[in-house]
């Protein structure tokens, strides 16, 4: 048995740790590339959303390397996502791959379902499984903290690209870490190194919230690395969908702070969108309002083309944007996006935000 899973940003690091720690053989899919995309697109239904195509691409590339057990979340009420594997499994079988789906139902009782599935896969005791899960969760937290600092440092760095290099260095070291203490040590070294990147203390970067559908927010390949591009244009970005937040929300409801955050986004959205439309649509609308109230300069909404919850949100964002006077850039993503036009749109948007900011600054000075 060789286990694999789809890529989602840096999650491959904690996931690999999780499985190797349980004594399972793991095939990490090759990093997402044009080939992954082409492969996924070729075998997917045309109208499927981008995450479907890319995760299928991951599976097929991993299967070619011998993977036969596919670890993935499933469940109702998750938009199309909870139904992906039903179709992907059929496609892979028809292509002649031997495939077992190791699914974790995340509609309810996430933690129990996860532990049970891992126990079944590995044959280890609950204690051992718990230990491995804890290791992975520490990894997730370390990675998220690094990313958050990266977004602060990048727009202020004096030598373009330096923070990215430091960050990637740390990732490479994290890939080799194998214990909780090692993860924490490498993580805090990484944070220190990032903080030590030489920065311009006088710069006040634009502040932009990155909202939208979680897969494309998590996986930079889908948006031609919109985060790095914005950062290097001098924009400090803030994201709200972190795997560690998701974990604390869904697995350990007790983290009250996060619970409240989601709730207040829903409350803020209420006059515009009064019900959870599954996926992240409600949060996109609500968080746009919260960001505007916090004085953000702009919002970038990332979503896969035909993404239903985000299209619901997109029907409402023009009004929100008007009422709260915050410019929103909606970027629909598919296998054809990410061309030159994409960068031009980003640049034009950042220009607009800069002009607005200096205009408002001047008005305030008067």
């Amino acid at each position: 048995m060789k286990v694999t899973f789809p890529h989602m940003g840096t999650l491959y690091i904690p996931l690999r740790l999780l499985f190797t720690n349980l004594g399972l053989e793991v095939v990490v899919p090759p990093p997402i590339s044009k080939e992954t995309m082409n492969l996924g697109v070729r075998h997917s239904p045309e109208g499927a959303c981008l995450p479907f195509k890319l995760t299928l691409g991951n599976y097929l590339e991993a299967a070619a390397l011998g993977a036969d057990t596919f670890f993935m979340a499933q469940g109702y009420g998750l938009c199309r996502f909870g139904f992906y594997t039903e179709v992907q499994q059929k496609i892979m079988r028809e292509l002649g791959y031997d495939c077992n789906m190791a699914l974790v139902n995340i509609s309810q009782n996430v933690l129990q379902n996860l532990l049970r599935r891992l126990k079944e896969l590995s044959g280890k005791s609950y204690l051992q499984v718990l230990r491995a899960v804890r290791l992975a969760l520490v990894g997730i937290k370390v990675l998220d903290d690094l990313e958050k600092l990266l977004y602060k440092v990048r727009p202020r760095e004096l030598r373009k690209g330096e923070s990215t290099k430091v960050y990637q260095n740390t990732l490479a070291r994290l890939e080799r870490a194998s214990s909780v203490s090692e993860l924490r040590r490498v993580g805090s070294e990484g944070l220190q190194e990032l903080a030590a990147v030489s920065q311009d203390p006088n710069r006040t970067p634009l502040r932009v919230g990155i909202l939208g559908e979680f897969y494309v927010v998590l996986e930079p390949f889908t948006s031609s690395d919109v985060e790095r591009r914005l950062g290097e244009m001098g924009v400090e970005i803030t994201k709200y969908l972190y795997p560690s937040d998701w974990v604390s929300f869904h697995m350990f409801m007790q983290l009250f702070r996060i619970f409240k955050e989601h709730k207040s986004a829903a409350e803020a959205a209420r006059p515009y969108l009064a019900y959870n439309v599954s996926g992240d649509g409600l949060q996109t609308v609500g968080q746009t309002i919260l960001c505007a109230e916090e004085g953000f300069d702009g919002i970038v909404q990332l979503y896969p083309f035909t993404c239903m919850p985000e299209i619901v949100a997109k029907h409402l964002l023009p009004k929100v944007s008007d009422d709260y006077r915050i410019p929103v850039l909606s970027l629909g993503l598919d296998e054809h996006s990410g061309n030159a036009g994409f960068v031009t749109r980003l640049e034009a948007y950042v220009d607009l935000l800069n002009r607005r900011k200096s205009l408002m600054g001047r008005e305030a000075a008067k």
Partner: protein, 331 residues
């Protein structure tokens, strides 16, 4: 007496008789938007987000067509019509999307139906709606019973082979005995994709003119469809798509039809996956084709594909018959 408007789009084809009876029992007049026409489509395209599916665009157009003639617009929020099953996110956000996109609206009656996570709120939202219209809880209860009654007789008519339009009208033209059709085709889709003859380029009529008898998933009972759907996948958690899957599995087993045509809107999320699953299951065993539609779909394109499909079925059928005849002759 107030005028309550119901747009002739989306769930109109599933639930109009229910809500018509409901509002009429409360003493109100129900108004429906005009049949889809070019103006309605154009208004819808202007109002809705470009990337949304045709059915939602049409819905917006129908809302605009009605808004100046009614005191209220009825736009329910259909979240979950049975436990652990859902509508697509656009159904869930529909009242909000309409408010966000169509200006100068009369008040919207947006009753909630969520039988998975919010049963209580579902009941109270209906009472709330009654209150808005000046009805007591008892009156609302009575009106709802009248609605269910109307719904049941509508479903019964569909099962007898009435078209949705005939079922809603409540009458059926006295036709001569149905001609002996050579072909039988199942047209599987959300009703709004195939019942709106303008928006669907009169798909149903075209098939009939080619000599095919057409049947839809609504001719089968819901409980049965659900059960059949599970033989394809137990995981389908969309109420409407579950019906389609169930119908496909039924026809695959019984061979009551010579072919299956799946019809979906281009940007439809649930259908993009479920029709794929159905097609892969069926295609080696029974002729099957998927038609994707949007506002640019031309009459000619549909005609070509329909003709090719019907030809293929006819050829296959005559081949089978010839083979059977030969077998019989040799025996």
């Amino acid at each position: 007496m107030a005028k309550v408007g119901i747009p002739r789009a989306l769930f109109y084809y599933d639930y109009f008789p229910l809500w018509q009876a409901f509002f009429e029992a409360l003493g109100h007049q129900v108004m429906v938007s005009d049949a889809t026409n070019k103006g309605i489509l154009e208004d819808g395209i202007k109002r809705a987000v470009d990337e949304t599916c045709l059915p939602v665009k049409l819905y917006m157009g129908h809302v605009q067509n009605l808004r100046d003639r009614v005191d209220y617009l009825f736009i329910p929020r259909l979240v979950s019509l049975e436990e652990k099953h859902f509508s697509c996110p656009k159904f869930i956000g529909l009242p909000d999307m309409v408010r966000g996109c169509v200006p100068n609206l009369p008040p919207i009656l947006d009753v909630l139906v969520d039988l998975t996570d919010n049963k209580k709120l579902t009941r109270s939202s209906l009472l709330e709606l009654g209150k808005l219209l000046g009805a007591s809880p008892a009156q609302v209860g009575g009106a709802y019973q009248a609605g269910l009654q109307a719904h049941r007789s509508y479903r019964a008519r569909l099962k007898q082979g009435w078209s949705h339009e005939e079922g809603i009208r409540g009458s059926r033209p006295e036709t001569l005995a149905e001609p002996e059709n050579l072909l039988r085709v199942a047209l599987l889709s959300h009703p709004y994709n195939i019942c709106d003859s303008w928006a669907s380029n009169n798909l149903m009529g075209k098939l009939k003119r080619m000599g095919a008898a057409v049947t839809t998933a609504d001719a089968l009972s819901l409980g049965y469809l659900r059960q059949k759907a599970n033989t394809l996948s137990e995981q389908i958690y969309w109420t409407f798509e579950k019906k389609l899957a169930g119908a496909a599995m039924h026809y695959l087993e019984t061979r009551e039809v010579d072919g299956i045509i799946l019809v979906m809107a281009f940007e439809c999320g649930p259908d993009s996956l479920v029709t794929e699953l159905i097609e892969r299951e069926v295609r080696d065993k029974l002729p099957v084709m998927t038609l994707c539609m949007d506002e640019h779909t031309g009459e000619a394109g549909i005609m070509t594909r329909l003709e090719a499909f019907v030809d293929m079925i006819v050829r296959q059928k005559s081949r089978q018959e010839a083979a059977a005849a030969k077998e019989w002759a040799e025996a």
